[in-house]
Symmetry: C2
Subunit: 206 residues, 2 copies
């Protein structure tokens, strides 16, 4: 039993690394199994198809990221400070990834949105749920900031979508230029998008 | 000769449509030739490899888009109005694409940045040049707006990168949700990122 779940975990880890490096379409089941060091029979024991594997990779990655986002965005810190932490940790995670594999891998969900959403409806639906959840989490924090009179943006849903879009756009450039410093302006851009009343003060103290 | 250049054009058009629909890795040369209705021999007469074809597709697409961006961003209109037109035409183009093929295809350069940049250095370099050029064009307009005292953002390069990142991020969501209305907030978000002094006035009159 221990060995069996180990094989599933190995396949998932190998698939995530390979998808982050080269995307989904470029991968074959044989290569995934070779990288994971498991026999090909194991693959079809755990996953009905390559698409089922991709969904499992997405779910596993989101489980980890959701827990990070929840820890940061539901903390006791002031609302805008929590958004600052989110960008800080995002940049740190991309930097750590770059140090370990040589290139900025970007956002798995953004990567798969652009590569897959127009030809795999199951993956499109799953990615929509994940970005809906991200926007919802950011919206809650923005709503708190609005109630405290710290920002002027009143359509908190649209503001949250703009913040997540800015994050995805800058992560795209961090990946393309293989440079995590592209993520440094995220905080200032977020304050601008929210119409923060005292951006200077919000930055000081972080 | 007429027939020969026709074949190259047909291959380029087929490749661009297929790449926009399903990405680069998922495509084979045989499928491209079948869609283009040209014999496989023609492909290797015009293109040394699939990568060479991808570069040609990128160059052809950029030639068209650069001409559109130049027409809009170098026009006689007021600088912020030009940025408004850029977003307006981007949304119209994505809507037209959606009507003709059923799905929002997004930005070819953004799609290929996320799919390809980490495993094809020639494509990474070409896409960097294109986004550098886009940022440069937006930067010029922002600089004019700054000189006219219409915005408060003083680092025009960083502001231009934020505007292009916002564009790429929202186009990503337009594609994922197959909904071009995701692009409607681009103008308001752009004004916020630039710290426009009189956003109401800038919107009125468009």
């Amino acid at each position: 039993m221990g060995r069996t779940s180990d094989a599933r975990e190995k396949i998932l880890n190998a698939a995530q690394s390979l998808i982050e490096l080269r995307g989904y379409s470029a991968l074959g089941v044989a290569e995934i199994c070779k990288t994971a060091d498991v026999p090909k029979g194991s693959f079809y024991y755990f996953f009905a198809s390559k698409e089922a594997l991709a969904l499992a990779v997405i779910d596993e990655h989101w489980a980890g990221q959701k827990s990070t986002w929840t820890r940061i965005l539901n903390s006791d810190e002031e609302p805008l400070r929590r958004l600052y932490r989110l960008f800080e940790e995002t940049e740190a995670a991309q930097r750590a990834g770059q140090q370990s594999c040589g290139t900025v891998s970007g956002c798995l969900f953004g990567n798969l949105s652009l590569e897959m959403s127009n030809h795999t409806e199951a993956i499109r639906a799953r990615l929509q749920e994940i970005f809906d959840a991200q926007v919802e989490m950011v919206d809650s924090v923005i709503t708190e900031a609005l109630e405290r009179g710290e920002i002027t943006a009143t359509d908190t849903r649209e503001a949250a979508q703009a913040v997540v879009a800015q994050l995805e756009g800058q992560v795209l450039f961090a990946k393309l230029y293989n440079n995590t410093r592209r993520l440094s302006p995220l905080w200032a851009n977020c304050l601008a998008l929210l119409g923060a009343r005292e951006p200077q003060q919000a930055v000081v103290g972080t």
